[in-house]
C-alpha cells in the first residue's frame, strides 16, 4: 500500500509571529520556516507504517513556493521515498489544495493519505476533510492512534470528550493530532541520501485546478494586548483578590 503525505512549509513553531505594520498580513521576511509540526507527525507515522510492513512506498507532496523543496527534502531525509512539488508563489487556500491533492490521489492511488490536522499559520483545519469529500473517502481526523486491520484502518481520534475510535474502509484519509507519535530527526547520512531521491516539480495548471482565492483578506491586526498585572507577595493577598472578584465567598 502506498501512503501519500502532504506537507506544508510554515513559520517555525518557535517563532513569535509579527503582524505587518500595514495590516496586510504577518511578516515572514527573514523568519525561520519549517515543516508544519502536524505534517511532521504525519511523515513519521507513514514511516512507522512502512517499517511495520503495512506500507510499501511513501510519497510526499507540497503545494507552495520553490522553497517548499526544503520541506520535501526534510521529509525525504526522515524516510519518505519520493516527492512532488506543486509549485506556486500564490497563497493557496485549503479548498484549492484539496483539489490539487485529489488530482494527485487520482494519479497515485494511495491506500492512505496522511495529513496534519491543521497548519499552524492559517489554523484552518480543513484540507484533510475536504480531500476526503472530494475523493469520496472516509476520514479519520485528529488521530492519536492508527492501526491498519485488513481492508480497514482503525483510527483513535482526540475529541472534545476524550478519545473516540472509528473504523474506516480503505482507501481512507487520516489527519494527525499531536500525540500520535514523536517525529524522528533525520540522520546525517539520511540527509545526504535524501538529496538523490526523486522530486517531481509540477504546477497547479498541470492538474487543471483553478487556485483562485475565494476569501479576500481585508486586514490583519494584532489582537488586543493584555496588560501585565501585578505580582502579589503572598497567598493571603491572592485569597483577598479572589474574594474581591467574587470567585469565592
Amino acid at each position: 500500500m502506498k501512503i501519500l503525505v502532504p506537507v506544508k512549509r510554515v513559520i517555525d513553531y518557535n517563532v513569535k509571529p509579527r503582524v505587518k505594520m500595514d495590516g496586510t498580513g504577518v511578516d515572514l521576511t527573514n523568519v525561520k520556516m519549517s515543516m508544519n509540526p502536524f505534517d511532521e507527525i504525519a511523515v513519521e507515522e507513514a514511516i512507522r507504517l512502512k517499517e511495520k510492513g503495512a506500507a510499501s512506498e511513501i510519497v510526499v507532496v507540497s503545494v507552495g513556493p520553490q522553497k517548499a523543496q526544503d520541506t520535501l527534502r526534510t521529509a525525504l531525509a526522515m524516510g519518505a521515498d519520493r516527492a512532488i512539488l506543486i509549485m506556486t508563489e500564490q497563497e493557496v487556500e485549503p479548498l484549492a489544495v484539496a483539489k490539487l491533492l485529489k488530482a494527485v490521489v487520482d494519479e497515485e492511488q494511495p491506500g492512505i493519505v496522511l495529513l496534519g490536522k491543521q497548519a499552524i499559520d492559517d489554523d484552518c483545519n480543513q484540507t484533510g476533510q475536504m480531500l476526503a469529500a472530494l475523493t469520496g473517502r472516509p476520514q479519520g481526523t485528529f488521530a492519536s492512534k492508527i492501526e491498519v486491520k485488513g481492508d480497514n484502518v482503525e483510527v483513535t481520534r482526540e475529541v472534545d470528550g476524550g478519545l473516540e475510535t472509528v473504523s474506516l474502509k480503505l482507501p481512507a484519509i487520516v489527519t494527525t493530532d499531536l500525540r500520535l507519535n514523536e517525529p524522528r530527526y533525520a540522520s546525517l547520512p539520511n540527509i545526504m541520501k535524501a538529496k538523490t531521491k526523486p522530486m517531481a516539480t509540477k504546477t497547479p495548471a498541470d492538474y487543471g485546478v483553478d487556485i483562485a482565492s475565494r476569501l479576500t483578506t481585508l486586514k490583519v491586526e494584532e489582537p488586543a494586548k493584555r496588560q501585565a498585572g501585578v505580582k502579589l507577595g503572598s497567598v493571603d493577598e491572592l485569597v483577598g483578590k479572589l474574594k474581591d472578584l467574587g470567585v469565592v465567598a
Binding site: P17, Q129, M130, G136, D160, V166, L168, L215, K231, L242
Partner: protein
C-alpha cells in the same frame, strides 16, 4: 438570509457551544436548527432546540447512522439540505471541525474557520497564527460555511422559543465508516469550555499523581473545570481532553488559574481571552506573567495547597 445550524447534543440536551453558534447565526438571518441523531435522545434534543430563543424551525434527522456524528454520513445529509440555505454554521468543536469542511468541499465552498465576529453577511474575523493575529476575511462564495468559536459569542437563551419540528431524511449510512467506541472522561466538574473558573496545570506538576493531588482540590474549592497545558498532557499527567491551547480547547472563563504553566504562545492562544488570569509559577520571567492579572512567584507545591486551604 436563511441559516442552517448543526446543533450538537448529548443525552437529549443541547451543548452550550451550539447556543453560541445560534447567536452568531442570528446575525446573518433566520435560523433553522438541524438535530442529527438517533432515537429518543434525538427527539428530546429536537424538542429542546425548538425552545431556543431565535430558532424558527427545527429539522430532525433521526437515523442510527447519525448517532455518532460520523462525517461520512452527516455531511451528505447537510449538503443535501443546503439548496434551501445561504449559510451553514457549525461549532468550532471536534464535531464541527470534522463535519463542516466535508460539507464545504461538497458544496465547493471555502470554509471560514473559527469565526470570532460577524462583520456583515460575507465578512468575518478569525484568528490566525495561534491567535497572534486576527484576520478580517470576505467570502466570495455564494453560500457560506462557517465554524464558530463559542467563547466569542454569548449563548442564546435556551428557552423562550417556540419553533416547529420537522423530520428530514438523508442518505443514512454511507457505508464508509463505523463507530467502534469511545473513552470519555466523566467528571462531576463543569465542562472546560463553558466553566466560569478554570484551573490548569502544567509540566511543573511533575507527575499524574501530583497533578491530581495539587490541582483537583483547588478546582473543587472553586467549582472549577480542570485544564492542562500541552506539555502536561504530552507527559501523561492529564488526559488529552484537558488540553487548552491553539490545537486544544479554547476557553474564556471569568477566572483562569495557571499553575506551573510557563505560557508558550500555543497555550496563550487558548486562554488569553479569560477575564482574569492568575499565574502561579516559580520562574518570575515566565511568559505567563506577561498576560496574568495576578501573579504569584514561588513553589506551586507550597502555594496551591495553602491557597486551597485558605479559600
Amino acid at each position: 438570509m436563511s441559516v442552517l445550524v448543526l446543533v450538537e447534543h448529548e443525552g437529549g440536551a443541547i451543548k452550550d457551544a451550539s447556543l453560541s453558534t445560534i447567536t452568531a447565526a442570528q446575525k446573518l438571518g433566520e435560523v433553522h436548527a438541524l438535530i442529527a441523531g438517533s432515537g429518543a435522545e434525538a427527539k428530546q434534543a429536537a424538542d429542546a432546540a425548538a425552545k431556543i430563543s431565535g430558532v424558527t424551525k427545527v429539522l430532525l434527522a433521526d437515523d442510527a447512522a447519525y448517532a455518532n456524528m460520523l462525517a461520512e454520513n452527516v455531511a451528505p445529509l447537510i449538503a443535501g439540505m443546503m439548496s434551501g440555505y445561504d449559510a451553514l454554521l457549525c461549532n468550532a468543536t471536534s464535531v464541527g471541525k470534522n463535519v463542516a469542511p466535508r460539507v464545504a468541499a461538497m458544496l465547493d465552498v471555502m470554509q471560514v474557520s473559527d469565526v470570532l465576529s460577524v462583520e456583515s453577511a460575507d465578512t468575518f474575523t478569525r484568528p490566525i497564527y495561534a491567535g497572534n493575529a486576527v484576520a478580517t476575511v470576505k467570502s466570495s462564495d455564494a453560500k457560506k460555511v462557517l465554524t464558530v468559536r463559542g467563547t466569542a459569542f454569548a449563548k442564546a437563551a435556551a428557552s423562550g422559543g417556540n419553533a416547529s419540528v420537522e423530520t428530514v431524511g438523508g442518505g443514512g449510512d454511507a457505508g464508509l465508516s463505523s463507530y467502534v467506541g469511545a473513552e470519555t472522561s466523566k467528571s462531576e466538574r463543569p465542562e472546560l469550555t463553558s466553566a466560569k473558573v478554570v484551573v490548569s496545570g502544567g509540566r511543573a506538576l511533575g507527575s499524574s499523581e501530583d497533578f491530581h493531588r495539587v490541582i483537583d482540590p483547588l478546582a473543587d474549592k472553586l467549582g472549577a473545570a480542570v485544564g492542562a497545558s500541552r506539555a502536561a498532557v504530552d507527559a501523561g499527567y492529564a488526559p488529552n481532553d484537558y488540553q487548552v491551547g491553539q490545537t486544544g480547547k479554547i476557553v474564556a472563563p471569568e477566572v483562569y488559574v495557571a499553575v506551573g504553566i510557563s505560557g508558550a504562545i500555543q497555550h496563550l492562544a487558548g486562554m488569553k481571552d479569560s477575564k482574569v488570569i492568575v499565574a502561579i509559577n516559580k520562574d518570575e520571567d515566565a511568559p505567563i506573567f506577561q498576560v496574568a492579572d495576578l501573579g504569584l512567584v514561588g513553589d506551586l507545591f507550597q502555594i496551591v495547597p495553602e491557597l486551597t486551604q485558605k479559600l
